[in-house]
């Protein structure tokens, strides 16, 4: 067993943010999510937090652990020494609902605008290659929280939506390439990225949005050149 002091942001819109510290003992083989659940079950049933799967596939339990964007289910208790204070705060750049919960609508709106699919193996049509399946992205929003540009430019598409566009352009299957390129090529699309790289560092799922944004830029440049060459020939 290991005893930790969980220092958790409490409050919500209209209520001032305060820190409340809970002392909790949990098995050191468990994760921070288990500790938070134990606090909720045994000490404070009013604590707001989101979770579902416990194994990094639902993408619901993203918070900031000591300032850094993490999934609570992937943050081992063993990382912290006995008696340590661990600060838990909600994600940045999303509207705050209360305690550890944010409204992920901005991310979902972007994914909807892209018409992001869930590409499953059984959906692969004849002739299409398997490729890197973009269910790699669990839409947890950690990258959106870590990116400073998402916090200042309300229209910036952001790391994971851009990575999603890259994935679709890689394997369009009848998608409207034109409109995907219009989204990615917007001044608030792929070109708005300043390579702050925090998205890559916090992604719990190896998506590498920065690399995807670079891919999109190369794609847009080459496509622009092809179109220019085509126009000249005509």
């Amino acid at each position: 067993m290991r005893t930790l002091n969980l220092r958790i942001v409490r409050g919500g819109p209209g209520r001032p943010a305060t820190y409340q510290t809970y002392q909790v003992s949990v098995d050191e083989h468990l994760n921070i999510l288990d500790a938070v659940q134990k606090v909720w079950a045994t000490q404070d049933p009013t604590l707001l937090f989101r979770h579902a799967c416990h194994h990094a596939s639902c993408g619901l339990c993203g918070v900031r652990v000591n300032g850094r964007e993490r999934l609570m289910c992937l943050t081992p208790i063993a990382e912290f020494p006995e008696g340590a204070t661990v600060t838990l705060e909600p994600l940045r750049n999303f509207p705050w609902v209360g305690d550890l919960v944010v409204d992920v609508k901005p991310l979902m709106d972007r994914m909807a605008a892209i018409q992001a699919p869930y590409v499953r193996k059984d959906e692969l049509t004849a002739g299409s290659e398997e490729g890197t399946r973009f269910e790699d992205c669990i839409e947890c929003g950690l990258c959106m929280s870590a990116c400073p540009v998402v916090g200042s430019d309300s229209a910036y598409l952001g790391p994971s939506p851009l990575a999603m566009i890259k994935r679709l352009l890689e394997e369009p299957r009848g998608r409207d390439i034109q409109s995907l390129c219009a989204l990615a090529g917007d001044a608030h699309g792929a070109w708005r990225c300043h390579s702050v790289m925090e998205c890559v560092e916090v992604c719990p799922s190896n998506v590498d949005p920065s690399q995807a944004i670079g891919w999109l830029r190369r794609y847009l440049i080459l496509r622009g050149r092809r179109q220019l060459a085509g126009a000249e020939r005509r």
Binding site: V149, S152, D153, Y156, H194
Partner: protein, 108 residues
């Protein structure tokens, strides 16, 4: 715009090194005397090189300013106004600097 910022940035690293070497490294004591500056700028090749540097550095700087303001999420209409202001500002800066160096050279 990112691509122009990248290309002008690469060009600038070259031009800045030339600018620094020509104006400080090869000069005795590191700073030019008044006559020396005029003599230096009177060379048409140097004048063209320094003007090219001026244009590239000004556009890179103002595109950088636009990038920072765009990061604040402005509307397409505001962006158009911003672009007009920055292009005008850039033109004024280049005109002023060319007038300055040109008049100094001609007066000598």
């Amino acid at each position: 715009m990112w691509i122009w910022q990248a290309l002008s940035g690469i060009l600038l690293t070259v031009l800045l090194v030339v600018h620094m070497v020509a104006n400080h490294f090869v000069v005795e004591g590191g700073l030019r005397t008044y006559e020396d500056v005029i003599h230096y700028l009177s060379n048409p090749f140097i004048f063209a090189l320094e003007t090219a540097f001026l244009i590239v550095v000004t556009s890179h700087a103002l595109m950088g300013v636009r990038a920072i303001i765009l990061d604040l999420g402005i509307s397409p209409a505001a962006d158009r106004r911003l672009k007009a202001v920055l292009v005008a500002l850039g033109a004024v800066i280049v005109a002023y600097a060319v007038w300055l160096t040109g008049s100094v050279v001609l007066r000598a």
